[in-house]
């Protein structure tokens, strides 16, 4: 499977749809947009888009990520990358799975806080970022000198 590269400069850039315009979603949207990618950000609340910076040149769509119509409006079927970054685990899982299996998006990444489900959803080819596990790892590294296992 070929994986699109995110910050391949100069060329036309990628078409990226981001669901959830919170701190993480808006931050990533600003960054990806400033790198020359076409970015569409979707959020249920219009106020959420105020956190997009002047560098952001993409589009915003007000809509619910759990409605198929919203995914169609955002042209998910044409996306190179979909990022599911809403505050709700299940919404992110559903959006990611539908983007992957139904719209056959090459690269789909979802933020999921609950580490329990990672294996199951990775089987669908969705990449899961779990902030809980990342924090656990970071704390383990910081406290590494206490434990015996050097791993």
């Amino acid at each position: 499977m070929t994986m699109p590269v995110l910050n391949k400069k100069k060329s036309k850039g990628l078409y990226i749809v981001i669901f959830g315009c919170g701190r993480l979603g808006s931050g990533i949207a600003n960054w990806l947009s400033s790198k020359g990618n076409s970015v569409v950000v979707v959020d249920r609340r219009e106020e959420a888009f105020s956190s997009l910076s002047f560098e952001f040149t993409g589009f915003t769509i007000i809509g619910d990520a759990t409605e198929l119509d919203t995914l169609e409006t955002a042209k998910v079927e044409k996306a190179d990358v979909v990022l599911a970054l809403t505050p709700d685990d299940n919404t992110n899982i559903m959006t990611a799975l539908i983007s992957k299996e139904y719209f056959e998006v090459p690269r789909v990444i979802a933020r999921v806080y609950d580490p329990n489900n990672i294996d199951m959803f990775s089987e669908f080819g969705v990449e899961i970022i779990c902030p809980t596990l990342l924090a656990v790892k970071e704390i383990q590294n910081t406290l590494g000198f206490i434990g015996g296992d050097e791993g």
Partner: protein, 220 residues
Amino acid sequence: MKVFLIGGRNIAYHLARRLLNKGYQVVLVNKDEKLNEGLAKRLKKAIIITGDGSKRHVLEQLEITSKDLFVALTPNDQDNLVASLIAKRVFGIENPLALINDPDNEAAFKKLGIGTTVSPTNILAQAIEERIFKEQITNLIPSFEQIAVFQIEMEEQSPAVGKRVMELAIPRESVIGAIIRAGEAIIPRGDTIIKSGDKLIVLSKPTVQSSVFESLLGEV
């Protein structure tokens, strides 16, 4: 065999009551503790669990086996999808049932392996359409979106009566598959003449159904 009902307020209660009356073991899982207290009083024989039934760690405590029935009834499609995927992939339940609020999600659920879905919106929309149709029209397969099958009863004044099938101005995306006349089935050919009292079994694409009605029955 147990029946697990995840989420849902009134639907879960009435379903549980019905299933308990038929002698099934019912487990209700709901996030709302207050609601559960009420349910526990009204459904003495049911097992009621407080917790998020779309979370794997909650479901894992319930001793679910592949022989059980699993029904996800929450008002959120994303929770119903995740719950039924866990039921299928972790507990091996072959056909978990999921309620779908946005009818458009049905195809997506199917693609993800959740083939048995119920959409209250669809059911209500059909019931409303039935009322819009004239009395002579019966929708024979109400659940298909790709094809519509109707039984249409011919009356004395119907414009199709007295005409041969080949003369009817019905859309190309429709066909009269059979005629029920005096209790007998006739497979019509182009020269079959439509009579008053005939019941026509018509297949059509749903997009042209209103013009089918119009050409067979007149104004709809």
